[in-house]
């Protein structure tokens, strides 16, 4: 046994050396990346599963009243009948049979898409406006003097306080909900942009200036790339804020969407629907965060992986 092993190895080496098989093609996804993804996905499932089990257990032993806190198997089991409440395409029409129109899945998709589109539109508009203004504030002293005090004053105002303004200005529809998202993010993002500009490594700017860069070139080629990582992080942190205000805006009758469905569930006392929408929002929030993370990887290819060392 012991002396057979070297022979086998030698034979194996010869065989593989003599074979004229083409070199193995590089896998589409690096195996260690794939393994990492599977592991993190597995832990997500485990974590959600653990929470579900506790809930189901509470229901089983009678601690959780299924009328108030229906466990997942109940509220997910009722998806079929719940989806008719998402029937936004025909809800407002007079004289239309509420059972006609799109199927349940379609109406869920329409509602989700409407809410999602508002979140994304608000994020994009807020980021573009806030980053531009933040850069202008540092670029032109006059812009700073004229705008920064007001922005600093308005930034602590809760976005909810802007709700009446949204309604006065835009009435009902997409515009007020998007306005709410923009307002919720804009002030923080302007201030974050200014702070990040102030914290750009001075040496980067010195290097560019000694190479003859004009102020404009310093901003375009050094300041903006240097602040991008921090700003994308700010965007990710504010994503949840955006989700929150969009739901509030929709639930108060400004437009329609997932927030409206929650409001409907509240008014008709339908806990299953509430939890279904909550689960939906959780999944959507997670997906949008994941999408932003992908953008971050793409745009900020030069950054090392964060969090791999658990803060050690």
């Amino acid at each position: 046994m012991a002396d057979a092993a070297p022979d086998m190895r030698a034979g194996g080496a010869r065989a593989s050396g003599g074979a004229t098989a083409p070199p193995a093609r590089a896998p589409l996804v690096a195996p260690e990346k794939l393994r990492g993804f599977i592991a993190s996905f597995g832990w997500t499932v485990a974590s959600v599963g653990l929470f579900t089990l506790i809930w189901e257990f509470c229901w089983l032993v009678g601690w959780a009243d299924p009328k108030l806190l229906p466990p997942p198997h109940i509220f997910l089991g009722q998806i079929g009948e719940q989806t008719k409440f998402f029937n936004t395409a025909t809800r407002w029409a007079v004289g239309v049979n509420p059972d006609s129109g799109p199927t349940g899945l379609e109406s869920v998709m329409v509602t989700v898409a409407a809410t999602m589109a508002r979140v994304v539109a608000g994020l994009v508009i807020a980021s573009v406006l806030a980053i531009s203004l933040g850069v202008l504030i540092r670029y032109y002293v006059m812009v700073e003097r004229l705008t920064l005090p007001t922005i600093t004053l308005l930034s602590p105002v809760s976005p909810i306080a802007w709700l009446p303004v949204a309604i006065f200005l835009f009435g009902i529809g997409n515009a007020p909900a998007i306005f709410m998202v923009v307002v919720a993010l804009f002030f923080h993002m302007v201030l974050a942009t200014v702070t990040h500009i102030d914290n750009v490594n001075r040496n980067f700017i010195h290097v560019a200036r000694t190479m003859g860069a004009t102020k404009r070139q310093v901003y375009a080629r050094v300041v903006i790339p240097a602040i991008l990582p921090g700003l994308l992080m700010v965007l990710r942190l504010n994503l949840f804020g955006a989700w929150m205000v969009v739901l509030v805006a929709e639930s108060t009758g400004v437009g329609h969407g997932l927030g409206q469905v929650i409001m409907l569930a509240r008014n008709t006392f339908n806990p299953s629907l509430v939890f279904f929408v909550i689960a939906l929002i959780g999944v959507l929030g997670f997906l949008t965060d994941w999408a932003l993370r992908m953008v971050q990887h793409r745009v900020l290819y030069w950054l090392p992986e964060k969090g791999a060392h658990h803060g050690l």
Partner: protein
């Protein structure tokens, strides 16, 4: 490549006359960092600046680079007053200042892209400069992927790509281990000889000063003034173990010691 092939004028690359710098001048936090600096740097000269921490060595390099305004006195570059930064005078820092979002060759070609050079021109100049520092193989890597010594070599290549007349180096090798630093000193001497550039080099290492310099400027502690200028005409290449080198080190150490003592005493009374 002799320095005169570059067409240096008779005038000197750096001339300071009664140069002084006060940070935050006119405010309550005004802080005099440099005072009455008189210094003439000859073309192609290698000048080392030595002095206690906080005496204003970096400040002097910033002034010469044109990144900060002179408070008092005069600062001339080939007979012209320094009014702002210029690609003629390149600054290299202690910590790496390579842009992490650019590859090595893009970093080296940064100055040319500022001037609007074409892709081909930039690449050619970058390859040329990287060849001078022996790093062509790393041209497509990102700065994070390089060791500290390689990064500083890239920083030198980036400065050289601008064909500067004056290289200002602020403790460029301070973060490197002893062996790498020795290598980098030899490398820098080669670059200096080949480019014919004038070098102003800040260091805290006396052996580094002795190994590199034509002249060593020793500063007093705050406000920084020139205490003495030591001419170092030991023959090159230099043997660090030669008795003459040893004598020079002793001399500089003695010059520096009481200034460092003074600086420390002052900083302690600051803290109290």
């Amino acid at each position: 490549m002799a320095s005169d092939a570059k067409g240096f004028s008779k005038k000197d690359p750096v001339v300071c006359r009664g140069l002084g710098k006060t940070w935050a001048a006119g405010t309550s936090r005004a802080h005099e960092a440099l005072k009455g600096i008189d210094l003439d740097v000859k073309p192609g000269e290698f000048v080392v600046l030595l002095g206690p921490s906080g005496c204003g060595k970096s400040t002097l390099l910033y002034l010469i680079a044109g990144l900060e305004d002179v408070t008092t006195g005069e600062l001339n570059h080939f007979g012209e007053p320094v009014t702002g930064p210029s690609p003629d005078r390149s600054l290299i820092f202690q910590e790496t200042s390579l842009f992490p979002w650019l590859t090595v060759w893009e970093n080296v070609a940064f100055g040319l892209s500022i001037r609007g050079a074409s892709h081909a021109e930039r690449k050619e100049a970058a390859v040329q400069a990287l060849r001078e520092v022996g790093l062509t193989a790393a041209m497509n890597k990102r700065p994070d992927e390089l060791s500290g010594g390689m990064r500083q070599r890239v920083a030198v290549a980036r400065a050289l790509a601008m064909r500067p007349k004056v290289l200002l180096m602020d403790e460029p090798f301070a973060a490197l281990d002893v062996q790498t630093r020795q290598k980098m000193q030899d490398f820098l001497l080669d670059v200096w000889r080949d480019s014919g550039a004038t070098v102003l080099f800040v260091t805290h290492h006396i052996d580094e000063a002795v190994a590199l310099s034509d002249r060593v400027v020793v500063f007093t502690s705050r406000p920084g003034r020139i205490k003495t200028i030591v001419t170092n005409d030991l023959p090159r290449p230099r043997d660090p173990f030669a008795p003459e080198s040893e004598a020079m080190r002793r001399h500089l150490t003695a010059q520096l010691r009481d200034e460092v003592d003074r600086a420390f005493a002052e900083q302690e009374s600051f803290g109290a």
